[in-house]
Amino acid sequence: MSSINLRSLTKSFGPLVAVNNLDLELREGELVAFLGPSGCGKTTTLRMIAGFETADSGEIYLGGREVSSFPPERRDAGMVFQNYALFPHLTVYENVAFGLQMRKVPKEDIQTRVAEILQKVQLTGMENRLPRQLSGGQQQRTALARALVINPAVLLLDEPLANLDAKLREEMRFYIRNLQQEFGITTVYVTHDQAEALVLADRVAVMRNGVLQQIDVPEQIYQRPRNAWVANFVGIANLIPGTIGEPLNDVARINTGLGVIHANGGESLSVGSEALASVRPESLRLERGNGSAESASPTSSVNRLTGIIEDRAYLGNLADYRVRVDTDTVLRVQSAPFPVYDISEDVQLSFAVEETWLVLPEAEGER
């Protein structure tokens, strides 16, 4: 049984379609990150699941119940807000106990359950503090405890780490992941931070303009983006446009301004259609020299190009190069900081065919 099931969910605000015909199913205990830029519909979707927004059409199933007509208090969804939304006039204990009191849990049980959860989020001893007397991280954990103590059917997290500083944010990623695993709770995690989504999620749902672009495990989202927009939004992508040629020995080929590039994917693309070859900066290898065509001829497992180093940025753990391979094509290459290639130096670029992926030129919902 799936825990969250969205069927052709649609929501408009005036002329703006915030969520367009969204179908999505979360397995029991799964954490799915909704990833996209602001205004992509991820928060609206979350609010529809929580019951704060009413869908124009479509169905929402939580734990097998169709809940679209239910008010928020009957949906059994624990929610953590971006600004935590703790009750400022209640202590940590009272904040966490609130949901249990609403459920008419006996007082002694409330005490044990609150104590238990506070221990789990390491807030024992903070019971009588007010939210404003807590650090950002402690407020965050109070909000998590408050949402989890009611044992909700699903957990909804709206950019929960956005207000924390960078270092704490990174720690909290693992913390939230562990907590979610421990409770085995089906979770929707809304974020605009791709690293957060990739680290935390079982699957990532990439959204844009209210349309689901791709939903898949993090590795697939990064290595096998469905279209150019996803490739660009998640990480850095070198996108080389061209037309699909005849495949050779089951390897797809795309005719580009830089010559034929061998690539994977594109099974759905027909010969002659427009597409782009997507290569991640770390998949490109640099070598010194302008190498003659013979020594650098591409094979069916490695693509080769020649270029000139145009710019170089030192990032500590790696170097970020901009390599001009054509009058109007500059590729990003990220490699180990040594050896150092100088600006204007001739280089050879090689990239494995299995790390070259064909993507559709347009985003979903634009055709």
Partner: protein, 295 residues
């Protein structure tokens, strides 16, 4: 990074600019001192002087005015009636204004602007004119009674009695209550209410457990403001009460202008002032305790 640095330096600059605050309160001090404190002290002085005919008072210390004021059961009836107007008006404006203020606080900005204009527009018209407006509506042959007659009911006595005064007071002082509440409800993050809902609280529980306690500062200031304005109101009770409904301000003015007893009027004014201050003081202390308990 540079944006943050700019913001900090802007704030510092702002703080540095406001460093001599003492000078800034002088105009207000002159105004309050000259037109409020000094006349009140004079009133206090006069209340201890001896009544005479032919002059406002003679300079002879006496407690007679106070004993007379406190002994007269008529005065106490009027004081109680005035306080009751204050309490009832405050409660009615609170009950009527809260939903309005809540709706305004949560409305889209365009709707909010329109409601704000509607709320404030009556304040642009003088209180006397508005009272006359109510007289046209509430008179025995007024619009309301004509309408009632068309439906075969009435006529109702809506004017020159307590009902008329109440209607006028509620109408005129409601904006003060609504604005006080609006400010404090606007300060409540709607996500806090949503959080309560997601934790299983229904609309009423959310209101009583979250919204209401968080709006108490606005409730405190609004109720005090309306209570004080109501009990000191003169024009509305005199026009809509038609001198058949007497309140303390009316009685003070009558004592001074018709009986020409300045010291006695002053004493009554001072007694009522002390009672009002005491009530407001006790009330604010209670509210403070309630809010501390909530926090």
């Amino acid at each position: 990074m540079s944006a943050t640095a700019d913001r900090v330096s802007m704030r510092e600059r702002f703080q540095a600019g406001s460093s001599p605050p003492a000078l800034l309160i002088i105009p207000a001090l002159i105004l309050v001192g000259g037109f409020f404190v000094i006349p009140y002290l004079y009133l206090l002085y006069m209340s201890f002087m001896t009544h005479t005919t032919g002059a406002a008072y003679i300079r002879e210390f006496t407690l007679e005015n106070y004993t007379e004021t406190l002994r007269d059961p008529f005065n106490w009836r009027i004081i109680w009636q005035t306080l009751r107007f204050g309490i009832v008006t405050t409660l009615v404006t609170l009950i009527l204004s809260y939903p309005l203020a809540y709706h305004m606080a949560r409305a889209q900005s365009r709707v909010k602007g329109l409601l704000m204009i509607l709320l404030l527009a009556p304040l642009l018209v003088g209180i006397v004119i508005r009272s006359y407006g109510w007289m046209i509506l509430l008179a025995d042959t007024g619009l309301v009674n004509q309408l009632a007659e068309a439906f075969g009911v009435g006529p109702f006595a809506l004017m020159y009695n307590r009902t008329g005064v109440m209607i006028g007071l509620v109408h005129i002082y409601m904006p003060f209550m609504a604005l006080s509440l609006l400010g404090s409800i606007q300060g409540i993050d709607p996500d806090i209410e949503r959080a309560a809902r997601s934790l299983g609280a229904n609309g009423w529980q959310t209101f009583w457990r979250v919204t209401w306690p968080l709006s108490l500062p606005g409730v405190a200031s609004g109720t005090v403001l309306v209570f004080v304005l109501t009990v000191s109101s003169y024009v509305i009770p005199s026009l809509l009460g038609g001198h058949r409904v007497i309140t303390v301000p009316l009685l003070v003015v009558q004592t001074v202008q018709q009986i020409f007893n300045w010291p006695l009027g002053s004493a009554l004014a001072i007694v009522f002032f002390v009672i009002t201050i005491a009530i407001v003081g006790v009330y604010l202390k209670m509210m403070d305790r309630v809010m501390k308990g909530e926090r």
